[in-house]
Subunit: 230 residues, 2 copies
Amino acid sequence: MDVAVIGGTGAEGFGLALRLAKAGHRVTIGSRDADRGTESAAKASELAGAALEGTDNAGATAAAGGDGVVAVTVPYAGQAEIYRSIKDAVAAGAVVLDATSPLATAVGGRPWQVLRPWHGSAAEQAQAILGEGPRVVAGLHTIAAEALQALDRDVDSDVLLCADDPEAKARAGTLIEGIPGMRWIDCGRLEMARVAEPLTALLVSINRTYKVKDSGFRIVGRDAWGASAR
Amino acid sequence: MDVAVIGGTGAEGFGLALRLAKAGHRVTIGSRDADRGTESAAKASELAGAALEGTDNAGATAAAGGDGVVAVTVPYAGQAEIYRSIKDAVAAGAVVLDATSPLATAVGGRPWQVLRPWHGSAAEQAQAILGEGPRVVAGLHTIAAEALQALDRDVDSDVLLCADDPEAKARAGTLIEGIPGMRWIDCGRLEMARVAEPLTALLVSINRTYKVKDSGFRIVGRDAWGASAR
């Protein structure tokens, strides 16, 4: 699949880009600065043992095309601005996988505190900026950057996906299933991101208390998750 | 330990009372109506194979004493009123384990939607009503009533505990550790309940999508949880 990782020079995005390239997808790392995107892609290609491209955020978004996924892994403080900068480059049919958590660090607060975005969640803000066309899926809030970057071990955490469009959710899910150890859970409509996004803050708090770096979530109660029968 | 289960005639409280009695604690079921508390205790004694007491909410609260735990498992719509009714009965030193989730059902909404309580979380509202003395611990939001009531199998979910007082958190944790399959995770201060309480809604949404009744959470990234070294 063609995948763009917007904010792919950050710790979470870089880890995601590595994992997706390793899984065989054609990954383009996007950055505000095209040169940084290219540099990051060169470094990622070496680590993943697969060729990644790098460019600016709008260029990477366009490269994902209409059958691909645009993964957006940026801090909440810059999220709205970045969505405005890629809006015109999102192809018809594209799925946007938003990983933003509205941590209070955006306003000088602590990473275990969260803000309540005006639209309800950061993902709903993304959908509001993009308008009706592109389909936003919220996810990845429970996946630590450290876990993504540690290519020598599986990722031990589930991804909670929230989206209004089942087909979009399944497309994002396909990416997730391809990363060793990761599963995805259908958590309902996009507005459920209001509950899922703050889980990043909960894991930060747990990491802090127990002095670990990559605590995660597993959903139990069923042997298999992924696409529901519904 | 002496434990009161306020709202112990409800599905969640009744299941908790069963599990705690089975684990050897002296459990008193509280209800708005003392007779219903007594009836519920008789039924629970039969199911658990252990003697439970039953009375009204204030009487049960007093019975927990200062070394015990007052577990409060009531719907959000009635939470404030019930806390006002037990406030004077909470003994000095008691730990209050609040399991309330601010589900939108309180105002005619859906159980996968949540409200934002004025104090930040339902548990912080409880602390505000009780005042400075009693120590509130938020927890149990991730434990389905069905799982608690099914005494023939272990509970497959972790409890996320949030409290300002480490000793109070550890006392509530002792209760949880005694229930087969259950563990507790120190999630930080009481205000972290703002993130933990809405997880009930997320599990309701997952249950609904996959047509299951008792999905749950497990925290991963460390072999043992419970009391942290901190």
